[in-house]
Symmetry: C2
Subunit: 357 residues, 2 copies
């Protein structure tokens, strides 16, 4: 007598508040000051609310590994190394990415108020999380925001069959009018690394052109897929390399070269970041800017659609809708993630968040 | 009796000096001040030297059309509208792109010396030409340079079957060490529009995935190909849209919306630009930066190559080699371009440049 086929395990739905509380408590138990833990929790759960599941609470186990390995400093001494009329260099002392990046964003926004433009460079942080959080922070302050992050090599460099660069992401956001802000947040790979990780966890076949296996051969097997391919070949890997150069090398903390050379600590996790803010008010009428954003969106949405397309979407529009829905209904989490977080809760003697439904 | 098959017409080779002189003389005869004409000539011929044939002297007829149509102002009154400690807004009064962009680049570099970062915004210019010229100017000053340009809609917006955005380019450059600077200059389309124009002129079939025809259907026919497709779908068209927002809307000169709405002057040629410079010396040791650039290049070049790849190339490396070869041997021009420029020479009573070989 065979068992009936197992249905896909149901997702658990959790309120954002419960997720934030849990995440904060985990990092406090791990040894992080409560204020810092609250910032990390806010940035991670924001990604879950926006539907960027690859950058949300599913990263908690990874952050804990970074702490266990000594890569993420729980009690960093974050220092401003350089401050000019328009720029700061934040030496993050291996602080959690959300702490370092929010520090740099605040500085960039503050400096841009006077100087029109503000640059916040981040040296030696860890996983920066979803960059859209920081550029939208600038947008909410009436500014255009641009953010970059640089990390270790795992994406193919064009022309090679090996991991040579990261999928270093770019985010740009601006305030909008009635339709809200526009925010682009894209990796320089064909897909973000998180998508490959998720395909591995859910064992779903990946499209051709996404990744190479460990030997550098193209594959669609989610278990074999290891090396994501760059967006548009030389464009994606070139852009990723330039992000390493204007971020990591600019702050004297190169990542790629040491890792490729096989230096003893070359593969230790570390990241660098860059946040740029431009104050709209210094260059024009911000109300006109906002209405012009709505105007161009309306014009694009009125274009004839490609076959099979139901709606023309703007960058960040899907995320804004997810935010509205998940703020109201809660964040759905796959059973595999909940199980993993159950292990985290047990480790720290915490109760797992209650399901909202 | 049939004629023998016609061989491909031979290219004519011309020295850079002769090309520059001819280009300058054309614009002087058209009514441009000699100093301005020399700058335009330098920027266009630089593109030819770098092998960016789509942005070189082949654009002279287009520039002349812009002059004839009143879109390019031969005697502009270029004004600095906003100047802060780190930013300028250059109101270009429809000056030729190379004039406006070199003005903005100089200002950005000057401001970055003190402020660490300098931003030059350009309002209301014409064709900006190859952005790598401006970012390499910043790199030669010991700075990281970033440039954007925004123009009218002719690329498909993802999810539509119509021209909704431009192939708005991005360039980033940094100084290097013994290997020279690294410069990325990429359009947000799968290919630059110039490549489609060139395929049409030479009647070569284009790859699938490059373009749509006038009805929004995919095509490989160079005569039918009209609408280039965005790089990586939503990524390319999203990035292009954000460039319009942080460039054109920031300087109160929106381009896309009016064109899509079919406004009376919505399709008149105009562009806006942005140049950012970051002074390496303010954030670290520039000599270390340069040696680290060489180091990461060496590490990437040592990676195992993909099948069929002879050499792993860095962004701008092909262009640097073309510059060396063409500075020495001259610039090869296809017969079709030479014939077109012959017409230009006749119009202005100029002698056509002599062939170098």
């Amino acid at each position: 007598m065979s068992e009936p086929p197992r249905a896909a395990p149901p997702a658990v739905t959790v309120t954002a508040d419960a997720l934030r509380r849990f995440t904060r408590d985990v990092f406090v138990r791990a040894g992080m000051p409560e204020g810092d833990a609250a910032i990390v929790a806010d940035v991670l759960v924001w990604a879950d609310l926006r539907g960027i599941d690859t950058h949300g609470v599913s990263r908690i186990p990874m952050y804990l590994r970074l702490i266990d390995d000594g890569d993420l400093n729980l009690r960093p001494s974050i220092k401003i190394r350089t401050e000019t009329a328009a720029a700061v260099l934040v030496d993050a002392d291996r602080a959690a990415g959300p702490l370092a990046m929010t520090t740099a964003t605040s500085a960039a926004v503050r400096l841009a108020r006077d100087a029109g433009v503000g640059l916040g460079l981040v040296r030696a942080t860890t996983h920066t999380a979803a960059l859209g959080y920081y550029t939208l922070t600038a947008a909410h302050e009436g500014m255009a925001g641009l953010a970059l992050a640089a990390s270790g090599p795992f994406m193919a460099y064009h022309g090679t069959r090996a991991a040579g660069v990261s999928t270093n992401p770019v985010s740009i956001a601006v305030p909008g009018g009635a339709r809200g802000p526009v925010v682009l947040d894209m990796a320089t790979g064909v897909v973000a690394r998180g998508k490959l990780v998720q395909a591995r966890k859910t064992n779903q076949t990946i499209p051709a052109g996404w990744a190479l296996d460990r030997d550098g051969n193209p594959t669609t097997d989610p278990q074999a897929a290891l090396i994501p391919l760059p967006l548009g070949g030389p464009k994606g890997s070139g852009l990723s390399l330039l992000i390493e150069l204007i971020t990591s090398l600019l702050v004297s903390n190169p990542i790629i070269a040491g890792a490729l050379e096989g230096a003893a600590d070359g593969h230790r996790h570390r990241q660098n970041g860059l946040v740029l803010a431009i104050d709209l008010r210094r260059f024009g009428d911000p109300d006109l800017f906002r209405s012009e954003v709505d105007r161009v969106i309306a014009a694009l949405k009125a274009l004839p659609r490609a076959p099979g397309v139901v709606e023309v979407l703007m960058p960040g529009e899907r995320g804004a809708r997810a935010l509205a829905a998940r703020s109201r209904d809660g964040v759905p989490l796959p059973r595999a993630i909940v199980d993993e977080l159950g292990g985290v809760a047990a480790r720290f003697g915490l109760a797992l968040f209650p399901s909202a439904s």
